[in-house]
């Protein structure tokens, strides 16, 4: 897809980074979700969560294709290249998606926090003046509405379920809440992207998200932690990412030329 005429180099670079960032988030969340395959608490949920993992990985490929369009890479090969050939330090994901899967409450809550943010963001992105972006956002949003319904249903049942399910969920919230701030951290150059009508402002969306999410979590008998938000940028990673990438690359590296 050709780069629009009105893009200058800096704008293109910022937008490309934004697509890479969203792709990395989805890919790693999908990978962490896929770790439940064969281990979820019940067969039906095992299938549902594996489907969800596949959806997220599919969404990652959409973002990577948009990225490829801006950096003049082959969109058909970009996903394999980015996922299997990139060293862990070059990933631009937020930290919340690289954390190990934890218990079921942790994974379901992470999914909810991510889905609820994504639905709000996609709704705004679907109005972007960059047509390919608006198209992808609209397409992903359909599926994310289902993801959100699924994760909300679980949060309600765990939060309002037994004492054990509630306390596990509260513990998960305690761990995850400080990381959520990074979901709304601007990418470098975001101000100019906003001015050009390409991206919505993250700060305004974060306010909406905080309000909606806090209200829902309270309805589910949870207490919003008062721990300060983590201030992180997308070049900072935990060693969990290093381990995850090493494992994800292990089969690929056996024979990088193999045809699948």
């Amino acid at each position: 897809m050709p780069t629009p005429q009105f893009f200058d180099a800096a704008l293109t670079e910022s937008l490309a980074l934004f697509f890479l960032a969203l792709g990395d988030d989805e890919l790693l969340l999908g990978h962490r979700d896929s770790e439940w395959c064969g281990h979820a608490p019940i067969l039906e949920e095992d299938i549902a969560f594996a489907n969800l993992a596949l959806d997220e990985i599919g969404h990652a490929t959409y973002w990577y294709e948009l990225y490829a369009g801006l950096v003049n890479e082959n969109p058909e090969q970009i996903a394999d290249h980015l996922v299997f050939e990139r060293p862990w330090k070059a990933w631009r994901n937020i930290q919340i998606v690289e954390l190990p899967r934890g218990d079921w409450a942790f994974s379901v809550l992470r999914q909810y926090l991510f889905d609820s943010a994504e639905v709000i963001r996609l709704e705004a992105l679907a109005r972007s003046s960059y047509v390919p972006l608006a198209g992808v956002a609209g397409k992903i949003r359909k599926e994310e509405l289902y993801h959100l319904r699924h994760s909300r249903a679980w949060i309600q049942r765990l939060g309002l379920g037994t004492q054990e399910s509630q306390s596990r969920l509260q513990n998960a919230l305690q761990s995850l809440w400080p990381y959520t701030n990074q979901m709304w951290q601007s990418v470098p150059g975001e101000d100019r992207l906003m001015e050009a009508g390409l991206l919505p402002g993250s700060q305004a969306l974060q306010t909406i998200w905080l309000e909606q999410t806090s209200a829902f979590l309270r309805e589910c008998a949870l207490t919003i932690p008062s721990t300060p938000p983590l201030i992180l940028n997308r070049t900072q990673h935990t060693t969990h990412l290093k381990t995850l990438i090493a494992e994800m690359h292990s089969v690929f590296k056996l024979d990088p030329q193999a045809q699948w």
Partner: protein, 184 residues
Amino acid sequence: MDTQWPRFQVFVQSKSGAPYMDVGSVHAPDAELALLNARDVFARRPESISMWVVPVEAILWKTSQELRQDAEFTGDAHTIQPENTANQPYHIFCKFKQAGTHEFVTTVETASASAALRQAYQSLLHRQNALSWCIIPDQAVTKSDPNEVDSLYAPALDKTFRMSTDFRTVSAMRAIKSTPNENE
């Protein structure tokens, strides 16, 4: 102690105007999660536009053989259906082929499931072809919301569905297995 969640029977409509078909069952703690589970278990392939889930205890199942042995159809009272003299809608599903599944044939309004079965049996033209019957009170059905077609079912249309045989791994493994192991 039985820790298994309750079971819900799942009925799927593949396209507008097509009859709902019995596709199997899912376990779930309640009807809403049953619907969500059913979506993931049965609607990944692009073949659904609407779904019903029904608690299995709410369904009356009868084979035609059972009916022939009991001409009055006075058998099995419903386990969770309350005694109710007011008429209510019952959906009648029939299975016509041994290898087939129950498909929707009609809806009748009667006072009980067995009355619904009796009425359907007496009025259905092709009843001699039916192998078995499945009677569902409409009030026990949880239906997917038509407004959610876009998020529940439409995304599957964009996905490539591959049979396991589409992956060369399967034929490759078969070839490997059929080759005598020289080390043995």
